[in-house]
Each structure stands twice: as C-alpha cells, then as structure tokens.
Amino acid sequence: MAYVVTDLCSGCRYTECVTVCPVECFHVDERMTYIDPDNCIDCGGCAPICPVGAIHADFLLPADKKEWIGVNRERAALTPVLTQRLPPLPGAPALPQGAGA
C-alpha cells in the first residue's frame, strides 16, 4: 500500500504534508503534491495533517478517487522532491488559526 494525494490538494497545495514526511517522498508541481509510492513507508503521518483531507491510504480511497493512485506514481516520477513547506497557492482559502499544525 501507500498513501495517495487526491485532487482536493489541487489549487490549495498547503504542503503541511511535507513537514511531517519522514522520508521526503513528496513531489510537487504548480498545482499540487504527489507521493512517490515506492518511497512512502506507510507511516500515515501526512493524512491527518492535511488541512483539506486530500491524502488517504490507498485502500481507503473511494472508487471515484482510485485513479489518483496511478496519477501519484506517474507525476512523482516526473516532478521534483519537495523538502520544505511552500506558501499555499494564491487562490487557496485561508485556514482557521492552528489548522494543520
């Protein structure tokens, strides 16, 4: 198994996930982050910390989100690793104080 970033991340990209990933397996493009499934160690740290609930264990994905398993694998192979938090994308809604921390 692995954890999977879904389209809820797209357009927000808060990148809280990156700060708690023990193995730096997050990749990023201009829209969202992706998890490299071969490096993910299933620690589960990123899922609860995502402010928009975009990250799920693959076995918990609803049927209409299963495609993101493949998208994460493909995009992670093509995009750079992200090791530090980025500012959220300009259109991202402001988070309530303390959210995601």
């Binding site: 198994m1 700060t19 708690v20 990933c21 023990p22 193995v23 730096e24 160690i41 299933d42 620690c43 589960g44 740290g45 990123c46 899922a47 609860p48 609930g53 799920h56 264990a57 076995f59 918990l60």
Partner: protein
C-alpha cells in the same frame, strides 16, 4: 577526538528519530564549523524505529536509510554507548557544549493504578514491545504465554502492535526481524484470544485506520466486537472527527458484523474502566466497571493469564531539568527548556520528551525543525559562552561506539539474519554489540 576550540559544539542526547531530524535541521543551516555530537546510551542508533516499530512492519523501518544519510552529513558524530547520568552528567555536557538538546524520549510507562497491578503476568506494553524487538533492557523479561486469553488495556496503536504480535501466525513472524528469544517463546504460546479494552467508545479510540485494517487480513484470526458494548449510535463520529478517525470507526463497525470462525480472535471491547487484577500468585482475572455513559451497566470480569497496560508514557525526569508533570515532558516552550516560564540558556528538547508520546515518525521532523530553529535563533548568545570538554566527556568520546563501529554491528546483524532466513537478527546484549563492533570478520 578532541574539540576544535573555535567550533560551535552541539550535543543531542538520544539517537532516535527526533535526535536525527534535529541534527539534520541544524546541519542543513550551513553554519561553518558546526559540530553536532549525537550521544546515545546504547551502542546502536535509531531508537524506537529499531526498538518500537513492530517487526511485522518492515516498510516503516526503511526510514532507517534516512537516518543513515543524516549520520553521514559532515559535522555529525555518532557517540554510541554513552549514557547520560552514568558516563557523563548533564553538567558535563553543559560545560562541554554550547548547546545541549535532549532527545531522550518518553521512557516511562504509565501505570494503571489499580490493585493487583504488581502480580506476575501484568506488564507494561512497552516492556513486551522492547522484548520482542530485542532491546537489551528487556532481554531478561519473561512472559507467561500459557493461558488462552490475554488482555491489552488501551486503545492506541501500541495496543494493536501487542495484540497482532500475539496473534500473528508463527510462519509469518519467522520471516521478520523479531528477536529469537521472542520467537521461541511465541512458538509455544497458547494465547488464542486477545481482548483489547478501553474505557471509552468506538468513536473515541486512538487507533489509526491503517493499523486496524491489518486485523481484517490477519491470517487465522477474527477481529470481533462484543455485542454488549455498543449500540447503533456508538459508531456515530464525534463532530470534530477527521477522515482518519471516521475511517477507524468504520473499520470497527465492520468488525461488529463479524462472527467468530477462525482459531484465534482479537476482541475489541469498549466502555470498560480497569478496576482490579486478581489471582493467586499470578494474574488470573481482570475486573472492570462500566462508566455512566456506557450502553450497559454493571461490572465485568475477564479470566486471563496476561495483562498488558498500554496507557501512555512520559519522559523520565532528569536531574537538573525542569519537569512538566501535567504533560509528562521536560518543561519547554517550542523546544526551549523553561524554568518558571523563562528559557534556560543552552538547553533544548525535541521529540516525545518535548511534546509527549504522540504522532508518527515524521512528526519528529517538524518537531526537530522547530527545536533547531530555536537553537539557531539563539546562536549569537550561545556562542559567547566558553566551553571545553570535561574529562568525563573526553573519556566517553574515546570509548564511544562511532559510526564505523555501528556499521560493523549493523552488517553483522544482517549476516546473522541471512543465516536464519530473517532480514536481521539483532544482538540483544551490549557486550555482543561491542564485540561485533570490534570483530566484524568473526561475527560474519
């Protein structure tokens, strides 16, 4: 191994995840001449990744490769087999280093605080975990696995680890890095049922869905609930439940529809507050009362031969370090040790010793970054304090197991594992570790 007089010297005490991530964050700051000494009481690093993560979770252990990358960063020195309070005092470290960061974890198991807790057969879950993981401190522990039922108190992931290791088929455990002594004992185990008990309901556990999900696929074992413990409303998530909590509740609700069919069982029980443990000379039963909010009232007695308490941990108080008894951590504000609210110059904390036993391995990365940021912000002040290694620190450095020696131990353990068809066979005694560090050829 002597110090450069002009170097900025930082000691991190504890080579577990938080120690490594704090070291990484400090070294990534690019400060010229920075030397970080990672001091560890055992001859081997990696803390709870080595001694806490369950043997049947090999993927999690891959994080060790990250720690090895950090250990290779210029400026980092591993000093294994150096115990704070025995080989060196905190005062030694304070006089030898500009900054001391405590990464000493949450070493003390909380007790149940009920009568009968000291009967043979009642154990801290942490002792069982250390034992099956080959921790030298627990190598002489004995667990009587002759009764059919064991009780685990606590609704967190450590309780699930304990239950799973007790119930997993031997041929699966045999292929893990579980300690040989644990494998031998578990091979003769008569435990067929593990009851995982908590005082609250299915909507209020600290189980993560990933760990619960493993019970759905555990060979030869049913995951069950007891019909008396729940009503349809028991599976309504609390208003603030996140997706993870909801997923955990759904998995438990799924278990509630199972009927026993297989030779072994893990029974999740709710709304049971521990009241006492009883038995003649050893644990024979555990007694519970139901809190007022339980679906049913009354008391409950479970016959059992083993009780594991998995009800939390706290940092071991250290002489000279202010303690926050309410939280069970070294008193601190965002990683700066504080005394009566004011920062103690040059003394910091990270990991479970800072924020309590919570989060995942990666939580220590964010936590270590925060502590490192505090250290870096204070550097102009810290640099001014003159430091020089004390004799005890110099002697400890001489005798320490360094990174090369640890790598020899590591290779010897991997070779021992290969011979047994396991990924690794750990050394469980300190002399054997030190011998392997010296004599790699003989050990292989």
């Amino acid at each position: 191994m002597s110090a450069l007089p002009l170097a900025l010297r930082i000691a991190i005490v504890g080579a577990g995840p938080s120690g490594f991530y704090t070291a990484e964050a400090l070294l990534r700051a690019g400060i010229p001449g920075l030397q970080v000494d990672l001091i560890e009481r055992l001859p081997v690093p990696h803390g709870l990744v080595r001694y806490g993560v369950a043997p049947d979770h090999p993927k999690l252990k891959q994080v060790s490769a990250v720690f090895e990358r950090i250990a290779a960063m210029p400026g980092l020195r591993f000093l294994g087999g150096v115990a704070l309070g025995q080989d060196v005092t905190l005062d030694d470290l304070r006089r030898s280093y500009h900054t001391v960061v405590l990464a000493t974890g949450a070493a003390q198991s909380r007790r149940l605080g009920i009568p009968g807790e000291d009967l043979p057969g009642c154990h801290a879950a942490g002792d069982f975990v250390g034992w099956y993981n080959g921790h030298p401190d627990q190598r002489d522990c004995r667990f009587d696995l002759s009764a059919e039922r064991a009780v685990v108190v606590g609704h967190g992931n450590v309780a699930l680890d304990v239950a799973r290791v007790l119930l997993r088929p031997m041929d699966e455990l045999r292929r893990t890095d579980i300690a040989a002594h644990a494998l031998d004992a578990l091979a003769d185990s008569r435990v067929r049922e593990v009851v995982v008990v908590g005082r609250r309901g299915p909507a209020q556990t600290r189980f993560s869905p990933k760990e619960l999900h493993e019970f759905d696929t555990l060979a030869g074992c049913d995951a069950l609930l007891d019909d008396g413990d729940w009503t349809a409303q028991s599976f309504d998530p609390l208003p603030d439940a996140d997706a993870e909590a909801r997923a955990a509740i759904q998995l438990l609700q799924g278990f509630s529809t199972h009927a026993p069919a297989q030779p072994r069982r893990c029974v999740f029980r709710f709304h049971l507050a521990p009241a006492a443990i009883s038995g003649h000379g050893r644990v024979q039963a555990m007694h519970f009362v139901r809190p007022p909010d339980a679906p049913a009232g009354g008391e409950l007695t479970l016959d059992c031969g083993l009780v594991f308490a998995s009800v939390g941990r706290r940092a071991l108080p250290l002489p000279g370090v202010p303690y926050d008894a309410a939280r069970g951590v070294h008193a601190n504000a965002r990683g700066r040790i504080t005394e009566a609210g004011r920062a103690v110059a040059g003394l910091y904390v990270c990991g479970w010793a800072k924020r309590g036993p919570q989060g995942t391995i990666g939580s220590n990365r964010a936590c270590g970054v925060q502590t490192a940021e505090a250290v870096l912000a204070d550097l102009p002040m810290l640099r001014e304090r003159p430091v020089a290694p004390t004799p005890a620190v110099l002697a400890a450095c001489e005798r320490a197991v360094d990174r090369g020696a640890w790598q020899r131990i590591d290779r010897a353990e991997l070779a021992r594992g290969t011979a047994l068809g396991k990924p690794r066979e750990k050394f469980v005694d300190l002399d054997a570790m030190r011998a392997a560090a010296r004599l790699e050829a003989a050990a292989c």
